[in-house]
């Protein structure tokens, strides 16, 4: 399965808008939303509550049995994450606990247990004519996002069987979830924003992708809001040898479409046309090389 991953570095550049349009125009047999911190793709693809749902377990969390606890305070002293408060009784802050288990190992009265903890929800939509859609949502305050991203991709691949092609919406940033989303994909398309911040973030995400080996390409969204910055991105790409696939103009119709739960492929508008052209180039780029 050849996978196309849409990333941006900076948030809010229009990653999901571009991904959803490409999913519609390609009739992708499989797609996934790996932005598990703030998943939005389902909103514009029109998926409801009828997903097959699974709990995602993160690292376990400590729990102190107050009947056995003698309030010696060793666990609290040893915890590097400051997760145990010694008030009227010793209590674990589940949001701070990273599940290392040192408190349990050190407790002289055997009062601490490590309990499984649900860190997120995995969702799979598979009984639709549209193909497979895999997504997840991390519960707040959790940090183990990399594995959840991997699970989203795994679930998609398993359900999609021999589908030749998949489109994945990634998450902002360059950390753990982004690295996990890049692993194993054929091409990364970076949707850049023509601003100083956007350029800085685009370079950091390209650096991250380069360490992991997929092909990369860049397009600019809302390119006409700052033509000089757009030009800078184009020349940066040519300097790095990254294919520059084109520009998407700012288009009020695009915002309106998304707010009505439609993708750019569902409405006639300049931004939609631009995405179609860029998508054509991406397909050529991906067909040009060997598969994954």
């Amino acid at each position: 399965m050849k996978q196309l991953l849409i990333l941006s570095g900076k948030g809010g550049t229009g990653k999901t808008t571009v991904a959803s349009a490409m999913i519609r125009m390609s009739e992708a047999p499989a797609c996934a939303d790996c932005d598990v911190d703030a998943p939005n793709l389902h909103l514009v693809l029109g998926y409801g509550e009828d997903a097959e749902r699974k709990d995602y377990f993160g690292l376990p969390k400590a729990r102190i049995d107050k009947d056995l606890c003698t309030m010696c305070g060793i666990c609290s002293d040893k915890c590097r994450f400051g997760a145990i408060d010694m008030g009227d009784r010793a209590e674990v802050n589940p949001y701070a606990c990273e599940g290392c288990g040192l408190c349990k190992a050190m407790c002289p009265s055997d009062a601490i247990e490590m309990l499984p903890s649900v860190a997120g929800d995995l969702m799979l939509y598979s009984d639709t004519e549209r193909g497979i859609f895999s997504t997840a949502r991390l519960r707040m305050g959790n940090g183990t996002t990399g594995l959840l991203v991997t699970e989203v991709k795994k679930q998609m691949k398993k359900a999609a069987g021999n589908a030749p092609f998949a489109i994945i919406d990634g998450s902002p940033g360059i950390g753990c979830p982004v690295i996990a989303s890049i692993t194993g994909v054929h091409t990364v398309l970076v949707v850049a924003e023509p601003s100083l911040s956007g350029i800085s973030d685009m370079e950091r995400v390209l650096d991250t992708a380069d360490r992991l080996g997929p092909r990369t390409a860049v397009c600019v969204n809302r390119s006409d809001t700052n033509p000089a910055m757009t030009e800078r991105i184009r020349s940066l790409c040519s300097g790095r040898g990254v294919p520059y696939l084109g520009e998407i103009p700012y288009d009020p119709k695009a915002v309106d479409a998304v707010n009505r739960g439609l993708t750019l492929a569902d409405v006639e508008c300049p931004a939609g046309e631009a995405v179609r052209t860029i998508f054509g180039k991406i397909v050529k780029l991906m067909e040009g090389g060997e598969g994954v």
Partner: protein, 281 residues
């Protein structure tokens, strides 16, 4: 007053708002905790006077002392340790620096050593002290850099501290808001914006912090799903920042609107005053 500025999704204008609030509220401290993609320094262009690397501790075993009992390998839930033949291998980037392996080693053969994961730069821009945390490319988690930033700025003498949080509602965002006096949620007028506003408002309510919403990129007479969410759920609205070509241009060039234009200065100043009023209540 310590103010955390956050938003569920990226690109809603979190940095733009934090930077302008800091610039419009008199002597203040601006802390860029979006350590994966720090951008506040691009706006402030501070004269960066000092730089400090951020390190975490990772374990190393003394081969003469280690007898291969593997207690540490069995202990480590992150599987950052492995033992084969007569050698302990440590995978540094999988280590959470809990210190457990060193603590439980029966022969005290493990010691901990610093490993660099990022950098904190400090400098000034006008009457604003600017703290920027940058996570090294290829690192998985920015939390150690964020913790260091918050430690450093906890000692600030400035009356106001503005914390520019990372996007999302993960543990690193929690770290940023847990000592804040007030949380500002920035939302854009799309269904994405409204959905993420819902997620992030849940988070601030868990922490019981006073909070308010700033609606950004507002277009007059157009539907704003984020505003609808606020009105339907009783979220206090601090202010509305219009979708404005001029403001957009200043921001894309990383300019500070409240320093360049009195109209914008007044707008950010009003948002700041509304917050102070809510905190004192």
């Amino acid at each position: 007053m310590k103010v955390a500025v956050l938003s569920g999704k990226g690109g809603t204008g979190k940095t733009m708002l934090s930077v302008n609030l800091a610039a419009a509220s008199g002597p203040s401290t601006y802390v860029d905790c979006d350590v994966e993609e720090p951008n506040g320094h691009l706006f402030f262009k501070p004269d960066e006077s000092s730089e400090e690397t951020v390190s975490v501790l990772v374990p190393r075993a003394d081969r003469n002392e280690c007898d291969g009992c593997m207690a540490c390998v069995r202990f480590c839930r992150y599987h950052a340790l492995a033992y084969s033949l007569d050698r302990l291998t440590v995978f540094d980037d999988m280590c959470h620096s809990c210190g457990g392996c060193a603590e439980i080693c029966p022969r005290k053969a493990i010691t901990e050593h610093p490993r660099e994961v990022g950098v904190v730069r400090t400098g000034r821009s006008g009457d604003v002290s600017v703290y920027t945390g940058t996570m090294n490319v290829g690192e998985a988690a920015g939390l150690p850099v964020i913790r260091r930033l918050l430690e450093m700025t906890a000692l600030s003498y400035d009356e106001n501290i503005f914390i520019d949080c990372p996007p999302g509602s993960s543990c690193s965002v929690m770290e940023c808001i847990k000592d804040a006096d007030f949380c500002v949620l920035v939302a854009e007028p799309t269904i994405f914006g409204a959905h993420n506003l819902e997620m992030v408002s849940e988070l601030v309510r868990v922490f019981g912090r006073p909070y308010g919403v700033v609606l950004n990129k507002v277009i007059e007479n157009e539907r704003d799903p984020s505003e609808e969410y606020c009105l339907d759920n009783g979220l206090p609205i601090l202010g509305r920042i219009p979708f404005d070509i001029g403001l957009g241009r200043i921001c894309s060039e990383a300019g500070i609107a409240s320093r360049e234009n009195v109209v914008f200065e007044r707008m950010f100043r009003e948002i700041y005053e509304k917050m102070t009023e809510m905190v004192s209540r």
